[in-house]
């Protein structure tokens, strides 16, 4: 089932009056349950594409649909509500709220949605235990390792059961063990709960785990294939 559709999407930035085309006439679709890696060199437009898909940025031209709803026409307020209810975000720098505990961070979006406290707490605890942080429920991010923080970030992204999760280089700051654990965890969530994941990454280990790989270059899709097409593809 098609979850996301981009039609002829372009994004042009004008920093200091110089036009830079970050995304150039991209049309692409993502289906429910995909585990997709977007790869490409720095500056290729991966993050811009993710931001457009996630409604953080708006395209200069083209259309973006999520569940057949055009999101690039929404007002800022509606778009924020849309992100809150439909998308989970995982960032490279974890970006947990430092003043909240692990549980409170995971509960945060659910609380914004107005879900009852008991339901929030149960869901946060369930997720944190599932990702191996049952002992760290009440720890603040500063007391957690990088890998643990990123796992909390994953739990936060999944807590409100979003339609899909966007992860911008989620393993960039993790060691091998943490990367392996995180990928395994996300794969399980993808397989068991059918959560759609879209990554941008430089990390070969992420590419290896991805079911679909989109190679991005100069703001354009250079290659787009599933592992059945080319199992041995490397970037």
């Amino acid at each position: 089932m098609k979850v996301i559709e981009l039609k002829n999407v372009s994004k042009i930035y004008n920093p200091k009056g110089i036009a830079v085309q970050a995304v150039n006439n991209v049309s692409i679709e993502f289906s429910q349950g995909e585990f997709t890696a977007i790869v490409g060199a720095s500056g290729s437009g991966k993050t811009t594409l993710l931001n457009i898909i996630g409604g953080i940025d708006t395209p200069s031209s083209g259309e973006v649909y999520v569940n057949n709803k055009q999101i690039n026409q929404l007002s800022e307020r509606k778009l924020t509500e849309f992100r809150r209810d439909n998308i989970g975000f995982i960032f490279q720098q974890y970006n947990l709220l430092p003043v909240l505990t692990a549980t409170e961070n995971v509960e945060f979006i659910m609380e914004l949605q107005g879900k009852p406290k008991t339901e929030r707490e149960a869901r946060a605890k369930e997720l944190l235990i599932a990702i191996g942080l049952g002992e760290k429920l009440n720890e603040r991010p500063s007391k957690l390792s990088g890998g643990q923080q990123q796992r909390v970030a994953v739990a936060r992204a999944l807590a409100h059961k979003p339609k899909f999760v966007i992860a911008d280089e989620p393993t960039a700051n993790l060691d091998s063990k943490s990367t392996e654990d995180l990928l395994q965890m996300m794969q399980e969530l993808n397989q068991k709960e059918g959560v759609t994941f879209i990554f941008s990454t430089h990390d070969q280990r992420v590419v290896d785990k991805a079911k679909r790989v989109i190679v991005f270059e100069d703001g354009k899709v250079k290659e787009d294939y599933t592992k059945n097409d080319n199992e041995k593809h490397k970037i």
Binding site: T47, N51, D57, E76, F91, L97, V99, F108, E111, L112
Partner: protein
């Protein structure tokens, strides 16, 4: 809202030292401004009290009496007038006075004096003039003698039981003259007044001026100075145009002027203080926002509306302000109460200058509850103004750019 409040409260304590500095700045501004203003108003109150104790809160005279203070412009001391006056709420005391000017003579010298015809028992309860006695005893309602001020006694070289000779103009061009035994000598705080006052019971003064049952003024005492203009207005209506109704502010304009000058000085000082503190707070609050630029972007990305982020910032500012104000009140309230109950005595030239104005020579802080509300409101306004900058900062924030 609870979620935003929790976030704001914890954010405040993220950079504990900086928040403490901001809180202390707020507290400092409030403490200094309230204490300074309390000191000014405390002294002002004492000046008013000293002035009012001599003049009353309101005086009722014959029309145009105040301009010339002529012995010919008197009013009748009538029960009907007293009844009309006392019918007005808020008036606690009515004291008739007959004031006249005369030449006082001792054995070898003479001096121009003010002859005050008073009801000693009633005056004592209001002006406490009997407590200023330094020789003999103060006159009573049925006395036949007089009390004179210390400076005058020295000038005329007179003491208790000596005879004072008075000569002057009486009512309607009569000659006023008499010899009176000095029953007591009072020391008045104002050196000028201390040189020229004679006190005698009202009937004796009326006899001296040949003004039977006539007085120059009713002195009116009130239970609350706040109602003075209302009461003065009612008196004007009830007594009619034959009477001149004057409040102490009209009779003692120098006190009001002094207050205006003090208020101007305070406003300038407080403005400078609040400007400095305000700039510091703007810097702190803006810094608190700018360094969280990426965090705000994350919050917005995961679903917090910009208005909610702005609310968090506003709550942070308000909380900083509230904590600062609570700290300031915690220090200022006991300090002001203590300084009000235990004024610092002034000695030397400062003390003398206070005494010269008839004011007790001490620094006493006035207890003015409204000051707390006023200063807290000003600080709050500054905090809100300081919050405008980060609120605008968030409004202009572009999530995708801030995330980079």
């Amino acid at each position: 809202m609870k979620q935003l409040f929790k976030l704001a409260w914890r954010n405040i304590w993220r950079k504990r030292r900086r928040s403490v500095i901001a809180i202390v700045s707020v507290a400092f501004a409030v403490i200094i401004s309230i204490s300074l203003r309390s000191l000014m108003l405390g002294n002002y109150d004492k000046m008013v009290e000293a002035g009012v104790k001599n003049s009353g809160y309101i005086q009722i005279h014959f029309k145009n009496y105040w301009k010339d203070k002529s012995i010919n412009d008197l009013i009748e001391n009538s029960p009907q007038t007293i009844s009309t006056i006392s019918a007005i709420n808020g008036i606690t005391q009515i004291m008739p006075r007959l004031q006249n000017f005369a030449l006082a003579a001792g054995e070898n010298t003479s001096k121009a004096v003010i002859v005050n015809g008073i009801q000693p028992n009633e005056e004592n309860s209001f002006t406490n003039i009997n407590k200023r006695i330094i020789q003999g005893s103060f006159i009573k309602n049925n006395s036949k003698g007089v009390a004179i001020s210390e400076g005058l006694a020295k000038h005329l070289k007179l003491k208790v039981n000596d005879t004072l000779v008075l000569i002057g103009q009486g009512y309607h061009a009569t000659i006023a003259s008499g010899k009176y035994t000095i029953e007591g000598i009072v020391k008045l705080p104002n050196p000028q007044m201390n040189l020229m006052n004679v006190y005698m019971p009202l009937p004796i003064a009326q006899e001296f001026a040949s003004a039977q049952n006539m007085i120059s003024a009713y002195l009116i005492n009130l239970n609350d100075n706040k109602n003075i203009n209302t009461i003065a207005g009612q008196l004007k209506i009830n007594l009619g145009n034959e009477f001149e109704i004057m409040t102490w502010e009209e009779m003692l304009p120098e006190i009001k002027n002094s207050q205006k000058i003090d208020t101007t000085i305070f406003t300038m000082l407080a403005s400078c203080l609040y400007l400095i503190i305000g700039m510091g707070l703007i810097g702190t609050i803006l810094m608190m926002a700018i360094e969280r630029k990426k965090e705000f972007a994350i919050l917005q990305a995961i679903g917090l509306q910009k208005s909610q982020i702005q609310t968090v910032i506003l709550i942070e500012s308000v909380l900083l302000g509230i904590v600062g104000i609570i700290l300031a009140f915690t220090i200022t309230i006991p300090f002001i109460l203590y300084m009000n109950a235990n004024p610092i005595p002034l000695t030397g030239d400062s003390g003398k200058s206070f005494e010269a104005m008839g004011v007790e020579p001490s620094l006493q802080l006035g207890v003015k509850p409204y000051l707390f509300g006023l200063m807290a409101s000003i600080v709050f306004a500054i905090m809100l103004l300081a919050t405008l900058f980060p609120i605008l900062f968030v409004k202009r924030l572009k999530t995708s750019e801030a995330l980079k």
